[in-house]
Amino acid sequence: MKNKTIKKVDLIFEQVDHLAILDKTLNRSSEEIILDIIDSGLRGRGGAGFPTGLKWKFARNEDSEQKYVICNADEGEPGTFKDREILTQVPEKVLTGMAVCGKAIGASEGYIYLRAEYNFLLPMLHQKIDTFNNVLKEKKFDFSVAIRSGSGAYVCGEETALMESMEGFRGEPRNKPPFPTSKGYLGKPTSINNVETLVFALMIANLGPKMFKELGTFDSRGSKVFSISGDTPSAGIYELELGMTLEDFVNEFGDGDTKAVQIGGASGYCVARKNFKSTVIGFEGIPTGGSMMLFNSSRSMYNILRDYLEFFEEESCGQCTPCRIGCQQLLKGVEAVKKGLKPPSYLENLQRLSETMKIASKCGLGQSVGNPFNSIINNFREEIIY
């Protein structure tokens, strides 16, 4: 059997002369920068996959004195840890990426929203930001960066919840529309992008969209930083081309006994061994914010599902009923089935509940609890019951 080998790429962690790229970009018009990003096909790397160029274009087209750039570093998804590594290794590239976004949409202020679990990065980041702000001042480019810290709430990774938190409120997601590009932080047009997205945007501004387009597939252009953990001999962070099949991935990273892979973190999908071949990692298959958790046959899928549900039950913000009550009932429900207090057919009721949550919940948290729930129950029903 001949496998297409997985192509490793080095766009994110490669050291570049960020100031040269900054100079180059500042001399271009914002239309040109945005057209390049749109042309490259770059989609948001936080998980939702919204086309970055379009987001910037919407924010640019808003007529407002004040606009903001936010770098979303509230990386809370279980199994994701790439943003921490990017901020540690190439903080200048992130900052320059923010400045490029600022130039493109016409913003003069940028914020990094860093989760509290990464507070140990603060002294280093403050120092880098001070230097960077001084450089911008010297170049007479009206843009500055500051940091805001989170306080341990997973839901604040949701863009509107993040803005609520920055404004000093409970981190409860807002209704959309209006989208942040028209009414974001403090009601002003805001472009909020993931750490990795900003670095890719910088690299596209530097090297042009062509090299990026040549990587990946039609729906999933470019490469992506993957956070690989679980039962694997080579856990860590890898930048890989998008569009590979899960089988290729498991052949490269598995421990030879992989029974299932959770793609996209706790809110993603669980794929069983029989479907490895037909599963494509990318927006046309299963999209991911980068989290790949491998489980071998020694793991009980019941424990894994229970862990995920406990996580969601704790992290649900409690604002909307489907998510608040739904998460609790799903957890209680599978526990009851496992203990024999409810018949196995009760799982179908729970699956209907998760469908309701998908339709009725306000934000991505409640809407995606059904992903791991249904995919684990459909693939490993007997492990949940017995």
């Binding site: 140990f120 306080s151 958790m293």
Partner: protein
Amino acid sequence: MPTKVLIYIKVHIINPTKNFMTRIEQFVKEQADYYGRRRNSLMPILQAVVQSERYLSEEAMVAVAEELDLSTADVFGTASFYTFLDTVPRGKNIIKVCKTITCHMKGKDEIISTIEDQLKIKLGSTSSDGRFSLLQANCLGWCHKGPVMLVNDEIYTEITPEKTVEVIRDYLKKTK
């Protein structure tokens, strides 16, 4: 001859120390001077109080509310949303062991029972000398190096029970 009637009047004596600021009030005022008094200054101020005091006391939250011209309920409502803004007293060192999936798979339960034995405290509680609190946290973002724990802002990865004992011993020495 008219009888003398003695009337007792209860005088409310104003606490003379009230005119001075307590240590916490002074601290909150300094933070508000630095971060500003608008609503979006609330989180940085609350975070600064937790950084210094380890938790938000009622006194601190009232002081913040006064400084920012908010209702105390609003301040408490915001603070109680966030797991890292504790509203109950915590120890000088806060140990947070990651409990989410990969760290669970790699043995966080063993780590927790090791710390429980060493410090003679239960998960979720604070030692009687006020030096340590032992808590669990949701994903700390080190899934490839589990199990991990956070002591204050310091991260310890790929810990074993033996390594944990050493780390805790260091903190015991540091905090007298």
